[in-house]
């Protein structure tokens, strides 16, 4: 049997029942990586020795019966979350040799639950992008067809899960960066409510939007990971002190009494007909599960991309000021003055997209422009949030597409980077409003590429979200499918 194909919950039962050891499981996944990685290219850093050591420790714990809920399960981690002693590049040359001296809180929690870390996976540089092509170390590929993008920015996370190069992954989402690659790779990806998961040790892109979350093979695994990573953290004052429920209990059959809103504005002009068909089928499944379907309106959604491309770059331009060639990261050795160290290190270390966003953000925040851009965008952000508030007074969750189209070919849009910005129009609003969203597989395009359905719910309503997602998954019955030609 191929252990690497299984889910966390299946494997945890087998590990508990001593049908398989954590070392056997880790070896099996490492062999899988060896077999397919030259085509998928999901990993930036792989640590087989460390993983096997952790697996041995897991076996000892399992034997004693003290193993945590993720004990012995091999994970990949997006290379934007700090891992103590394991290189963390953020997909950037500027951090090519950066080895963090501490773990991000989400990593501390995964390790405490017994997770086995295999390594760090590919991403758009500093999480800026929708294809993972902005990675300084080469793009990961879509396991369903390696000529296609896997999405981004958590592209390596989604690709490694879809290719069975790990059992599950931890990614981050600033404008859709978990949900969009999950949709393109046919896996489940959840962006938690802002403040649900600590951001401590998550290298900041846009601090008011960033959240870490799971990418998994099914909804149950997603709930299991949320149980582990959620919760308040004294080291992140924006994390919220609110009880963490057992999300797995929320996964019950039937959606009687659940009202699902279909936001009219998400079925935009330019929505691929195959995406629309798959999503409509998914919505039908929710109805068959007992949900009441109602059409709703989010009138300001059309403005979300414009708001995002002011707010996110503004925050990024401030956050990325720390890469100065002095305390960590790349330093240009040929510079004689401090100012030259700053300029030369940053100009060499950052890629084009990162520079573009730093320039946008610096411009928007520069003297005389603040009111016209940042303040205006923050006001429209309030309107977008109020739209959600209104619809969640009558609906439990919203169902929609995740992305306007299935994945496209690598390099197809690389020459016109701005053409990519509007492709996030269906995911950005959740980050602006701080609500939670998930992508669940709901079909395939005629080219055989996965299509996801997005479910969104109000702040801290992850249980409602997961219940709807679970029911969709049960009825669609496609989450066990894997790429054939890999």
């Amino acid at each position: 049997m191929s252990l690497h194909r299984l889910t966390i919950h299946e494997l945890r039962e087998m590990l508990d029942g001593r049908q398989v050891s954590a070392v056997e499981l880790t070896r099996d996944v490492l062999q899988r990586i060896e077999k397919v990685e030259d085509r998928v290219k999901a990993y930036i850093t792989l640590d087989p020795e460390g993983a096997l050591k952790r697996a041995e420790a897991s076996d000892a714990e399992l034997k004693k019966g003290t193993g945590g809920p993720l004990c012995g399960i091999p994970f990949s981690i997006k290379d934007v979350l700090c891992t103590d002693g394991m290189r963390t590049t953020c997909g950037s040359r500027i951090l090519e040799n950066f080895v963090p001296p501490y773990d991000a809180t989400a990593i501390v929690k995964l390790k405490a639950a017994g997770a086995v870390l295999l390594g760090k996976v590919s991403m758009d540089e500093f999480a800026m992008g929708s294809t993972s092509e902005n990675c300084a170390f080469g793009p990961p590929r879509n396991p369903w067809d390696t000529e296609y993008i896997c999405g981004g920015s958590s592209g390596g996370s989604a690709a490694s899960v879809a290719a069975d190069e790990c059992i599950a992954s931890l990614g981050t989402d600033t404008g859709g960066s978990i949900r969009q690659p999950a949709s393109h790779c046919g896996v489940v990806g959840l962006k938690p409510t802002y403040g649900r998961v600590s951001r401590y040790g998550l290298v900041a892109f846009a601090s008011s939007l960033d959240q870490a979350g799971p990418l998994t093979k099914d909804v149950t695994d997603c709930a299991l990971m949320m149980n582990v990573i959620s919760g308040h953290d004294a080291k992140d004052s924006t994390s919220v002190d609110q009880k963490v429920p057992d999300y797995r209990i929320a996964l019950t059959e039937g959606l009687q009494g659940t009202k699902v809103g279909i936001p009219r504005e998400y079925f935009i002009k330019g929505l691929d007909p195959e995406v629309e068909t798959a999503v409509r089928q998914g919505i039908n499944s929710l109805r068959e599960a007992g949900a009441e379907i109602v059409e709703v309106s989010l009138p300001h959604n059309d403005y979300c991309v414009a708001v995002y491309y002011i707010v996110a770059p503004a925050e990024a331009s401030s956050n990325l000021a720390r890469y100065d060639g002095v305390r960590y990261g790349f330093r240009d050795r040929s510079s004689d003055t401090l100012l030259d160290i700053y300029k030369n290190s940053r100009s060499f270390g950052f890629g084009d997209e990162v520079k573009r966003r730093i320039i946008i953000g610096t411009y928007a925040l520069s003297s005389g422009y603040y009111d016209a851009y940042y303040k205006k965008a923050s006001q429209v952000r309030t309107l977008i949030t109020e739209d959600f508030k209104k619809v969640f007074e009558t609906c439990d969750v919203l169902a929609s597409p995740v992305t306007p189209t299935p994945a496209w070919k690598l390099a197809e849009k690389i020459d016109d980077p701005l053409s990519l910005y509007p492709t996030d129009i269906l995911t950005i609003s959740a980050n602006l409003a701080g609500i939670t969203g998930i992508s669940v597989p709901c079909g395939f395009s005629s080219a055989g590429l996965p299509i996801g359905l997005q479910i969104q719910a109000s702040h801290f309503q992850e249980e409602k979200l997961l219940r709807a997602a679970y029911n969709l998954e049960q009825r669609m019955n496609i989450s066990h499918l894997r790429p054939k030609n890999l």
Partner: protein, 94 residues
């Protein structure tokens, strides 16, 4: 509005980035495109709208002011491109 390469040069300087002539010209066109797109926000009257400063409603997040262990100096310095065991080292600025 037309953004000029000179304006980009000023912004790049603020952001501590070097840009070649070609980069400045390309970036001027791109920033212009983005600002033209963003101008659609002006369709909305936001006169009386409070700007979002935080995605969820939390107010002051206080904690006890207690000293806790922090990163030891050698670990904090370990990633420094140039350091002398006590501090990060940069060219003389004064």
């Amino acid at each position: 509005m037309k953004i000029t390469p000179q304006e980009i040069s000023h912004v790049a300087d603020l952001a501590r980035l070097h840009m070649s002539r070609e980069e400045l010209e390309a970036m001027a066109l791109q920033l212009d495109d983005i600002l033209n797109y963003v101008a659609k926000l002006n369709e909305l009257d936001t006169e009386s709208v409070t700007p979002t400063t935080h995605a969820i409603s939390i107010t002051n997040a206080f904690r006890e002011d207690v000293v806790k262990p922090s990163l030891p100096r050698d670990k904090a310095l370990a990633n420094g491109p140039k350091q002398n065991g006590e501090a990060f080292v940069v060219p003389r600025v004064i």
